[in-house]
Symmetry: C2
Subunit: 416 residues, 2 copies
C-alpha cells in the first residue's frame, strides 16, 4: 500500500485549498488503497528538502475548513524545475524522497509551469522504473491554462473584481458632480486580460462602469485612452477604468517598465494605475483616484464564487479518483457542457499536451475599439461568478483554519 | 403640513443609504405630519440649484433596497458652506428653496463640516423666522466625529480592512519562503488612524498579520520602520504592513507629499504604499508587494458590518422621530451602553457642540512602540465589525438599487 503526496505550486488563490480539501477528503475514503496523505511544505521546495507534512494529524473538521480558507494551507512556492537534463539531480532527488516515503501518488496543484513539472516527474519515474501515478490539478487566477474551460481561482477573482467595480462605480457616480471624475482600478493579469475582462460583468445596463478596460492584448495608446476618458466624462459625468497590470505600449514594453513616468523602475511593483492617473492628470486635468488590489483580489475568499469553490473541490476529488482508476500523467479539467443554463463536468487531458501553453483571450472577446468586452466574452464569464460561498464567521471575521502541519520525520540526508 | 428634505454630504460610505432608508421609511409612517420627502440631488449643491428629487416616486421595495446599496443614492458633494456672513447669499438661497417647497424638516447626512452647515442653516432659519427643524445624521468612514461612540460607515470599512488583511496575510504567509516577504496595504484616514487601527482586529493569535500598523498620529521614522520590518521577517518569515494614507514624517509633512520619492507630487494621489515599498526595497532588499484599496474600502457593501448597517438605519429613523418630537439643531448619536456583550443605544447632541471638532485616536489605543493597537483599542473596535449583512445577489452580483430620482419642478429663478 502506498502513500499519496500533494503539493501546491505558484501563486495561491482563494480556492486552491478547496482542491486540497477535495484531494484529502477523497483519498481518506480509500484507506485500502491510499495509506497516508502527505503534503509538501512550501510546495516542491519542501519535497526537495524532504520537508513533508503528515496530514493524518488534521481532523476531518479542519480538513473540511480548507473549503473556505484562502491562501495555501501547506505553503506554496515560486520555483520552476527546468528540463530533466539540466536539473537531473533534482528529479532524482524527488524520486528518492518519493521512494523513502513510499509515495505512490503525486498530486501537483498549479498552473502551466507546474504541470510541466508534473509531466517531467512522471517521465523521470518511468525512466527510473519507480511506480508513481502523477496527476496535475489545475489552478491559476490568470485563467490561462489550455484545454480546461476555465481555471479554479479565476472565477473568484472575477467575482471580486466585478463586485468591486460595481461598488466603487456607485461611489464615484454619486460624488462626480463635485469630486472625482476618473477612477482607475489596477488588476492582475500580466499576459492575458481575463481578470480585467471580468470587470466588464459589472456593466449590466449601458453606461454602467467600467467604461474603459485596458487589456494586455491591446497596445496602450495614451492619446486614444485620453480621448475615450474625455468622451466618457462628457457623456456620463465620470469614468471608471480597469487596467490590467500587464498593459504594454506600442513597442511591446510593459507600461509599468516604460521608464520616465515610473519612479521605481521595477516590474514587480505593479503601479500601472498611478501611471494612468498621471496621464489623466497631465492631459485632461480631471480629478482622479486610483486603487491597486494586488493580493487582496486573489485572497478574497469572503466573496469567492460558489461555482469556483465547487469546481476546485471537484478537480481535487477527480484527481484522486483518476489516480485510483490507474490513470497517469493527466490533469482533470473543467468542461463546459452547456452555457444557458450553465452546466459543467470534469474531463481530462494528457499532461504533455498542457505543459507550457498559454490560453490568451480570443480576439472575439474584446470589442472593436479595444476598450470593452463583447457579448461572447460576457456569456463565457458570467457562469463563472455564480453563487456566493461565504465562509463561516466568528466574532466578525471569517473563521479561516490554520492546520497543524506536523512534519514527517526525515529519512534522507539533506539535499545539497 | 410640511415636506421633509434629506441630503447626503461628503464622501459616501457603504451604509449612508441605510440612513437614507431609515429617514424615508420612518417619514413615510407619519403622513399626517410629513407630506413629501424630497432629496437634494448631489447634496447641498442640488438644494442651492433647486435641483430636488421627489422620493415619492420610489416604491417601498426600492427604498428598502437602499439598506444594502453602497454609494450615495441621491448624489453627494464635497462643498463646505463657510460662515453665514461670508456666504450669506447662499444661506438665504437655501431658505428661499426651503420656503418655495414648503420644507419644514431638513435632514443632513454627513461628517463634521456638514453638521457645521446644518447648525448654521438652523441659525439662519431662526434669524429669518422661517420655521425649520434641522437634524444632523452622522456619517463618516473616518470615525472622527465627537460625542458619538462611532460613526456609521466606519464599522464597514473596519470590517473590510480587517478581512482583507486576514486574507492577504494568509496569501503572503503561504508564499513567503520563496516569494514576497513584505506586503503593504494603504488604507484611508488622512488625519486619524481609526481605519488603519481596524486592521489590527485581524491579529487573533500572536504573530498574525498585521505586524506593523502606521498611524498618522505617530511620526514616521524610516529607520525604525525598516528595523521593525527586518525583525518581523526574521521572526515570522514575512511582514504585513498597514499604512494610513495620512502618515507624516517627523516634520509633520504628509509622506505622500514629501517630495523626492514621490513621482507625482500631488496630495490626492495617495501612494504611500509604493513609497514604503521603495523604502523596503532600497534598505532591506526584500521582495514586496503593495495594494491601495482607495474607494473599494468605503464602497464595499458586500462585506459591510451588520452592526454598522443597523446603526446607520437607526440614526436615520431617530432623526425623523426626534424632529417629530420637536427637537431642533441636534444630531442623534450612537451611545455604547455596554462593551461585553456589546449593547448600543441612540443619544443626541446639540449641533453647536459637534461642529468642526475632530475625534483623534486616544493615546491609550496605540501601543508604546507605535506599531500596533492596544487591548483597549481592540475592545473598542471589535463590536463595530460584528455581523454580516450581505446584500441580495442576482446573477452572481449584488442586486444594488438604482432609484428613479425624478426631479421636482423648479419654482425659482436660477441661483447666480
Amino acid at each position: 500500500m502506498k502513500n499519496a503526496l500533494y503539493a501546491q505550486s505558484g501563486g495561491v488563490t482563494a480556492v486552491i485549498n478547496a482542491s486540497a480539501c477535495g484531494v484529502i477528503e477523497t483519498a481518506r475514503q480509500y484507506p485500502s488503497q491510499i495509506q497516508k496523505i502527505y503534503a509538501g511544505r512550501n510546495g516542491i521546495l519542501g519535497i526537495l528538502a524532504e520537508d513533508l507534512i503528515d496530514t493524518s494529524f488534521e481532523s476531518a473538521e479542519d480538513i473540511h475548513a480548507l473549503m473556505h480558507t484562502p491562501g495555501g494551507a501547506f505553503g506554496s512556492c515560486r520555483y520552476k524545475l527546468k528540463g530533466i537534463e539540466e536539473h537531473l539531480s533534482q528529479y532524482e532527488r524527488l524520486i528518492e524522497v518519493f521512494s523513502a516515503h513510499d509515495i505512490g501518488y503525486f498530486f501537483y496543484n498549479g498552473g502551466g509551469d507546474s504541470q510541466d513539472t508534473t509531466h517531467k516527474i512522471a517521465q523521470m519515474a518511468e525512466k527510473l522504473n519507480y511506480p508513481l501515478t502523477c496527476i496535475g490539478i489545475p489552478k491559476t487566477i490568470d485563467n490561462d491554462l489550455p484545454f480546461t474551460d476555465n481555471c479554479p481561482g479565476f472565477g473568484s477573482v472575477a467575482k471580486y473584481v466585478a463586485v468591486s467595480i460595481q461598488e466603487a462605480g456607485l461611489d464615484v457616480a454619486s460624488m462626480a458632480s463635485s469630486s472625482t471624475k476618473v477612477f482607475i482600478l489596477e488588476v492582475m493579469g500580466r499576459h492575458a486580460g481575463w481578470i480585467a475582462a471580468a470587470a466588464g460583468l459589472a456593466c449590466i445596463n449601458a453606461g454602467d462602469p467600467p467604461h474603459i478596460i485596458l487589456f494586455p492584448e491591446i497596445a496602450f495608446n495614451a492619446a486614444l485612452f485620453c480621448k475615450q476618458v474625455q468622451e466618457t466624462v462628457e457623456k456620463f459625468g465620470f469614468c471608471v477604468v480597469v487596467a490590467s497590470e500587464g498593459i504594454k505600449n506600442e513597442n511591446g514594453q510593459f507600461l509599468s517598465e516604460s521608464g520616465a513616468k515610473d519612479a521605481f523602475g521595477h516590474a514587480q511593483l505593479g503601479g500601472v494605475a498611478p501611471l494612468l492617473a498621471k496621464i489623466v492628470k497631465d492631459n485632461l486635468h480631471l480629478k482622479y483616484h486610483w486603487a491597486v488590489s494586488d493580493y487582496l483580489q486573489r485572497a478574497a475568499r469572503h466573496i469567492a464564487s460558489g461555482v469556483d469553490v465547487e469546481q476546485a473541490y471537484a478537480l481535487g476529488k477527480s484527481a484522486v479518483e483518476l489516480a485510483l482508476q490507474g490513470k497517469n500523467a493527466i490533469m482533470p479539467i473543467i468542461v463546459r457542457e452547456k452555457e444557458m443554463p450553465y452546466q459543467w463536468g470534469i474531463g481530462e487531458v494528457a499532461l504533455n499536451a498542457v505543459a507550457n501553453q498559454e490560453k490568451k483571450m480570443p480576439k472575439t472577446f474584446i470589442s472593436e475599439d479595444g476598450f470593452s468586452i463583447t457579448k461572447a466574452c460576457h456569456d463565457y464569464l458570467l457562469p463563472l461568478i455564480q453563487g456566493e460561498a461565504y465562509p463561516p464567521y466568528h466574532n466578525g471575521l471569517p473563521n479561516y483554519v490554520q492546520l497543524k502541519n506536523k512534519s514527517l520525520a526525515k529519512k534522507l540526508k539533506p539535499f545539497a
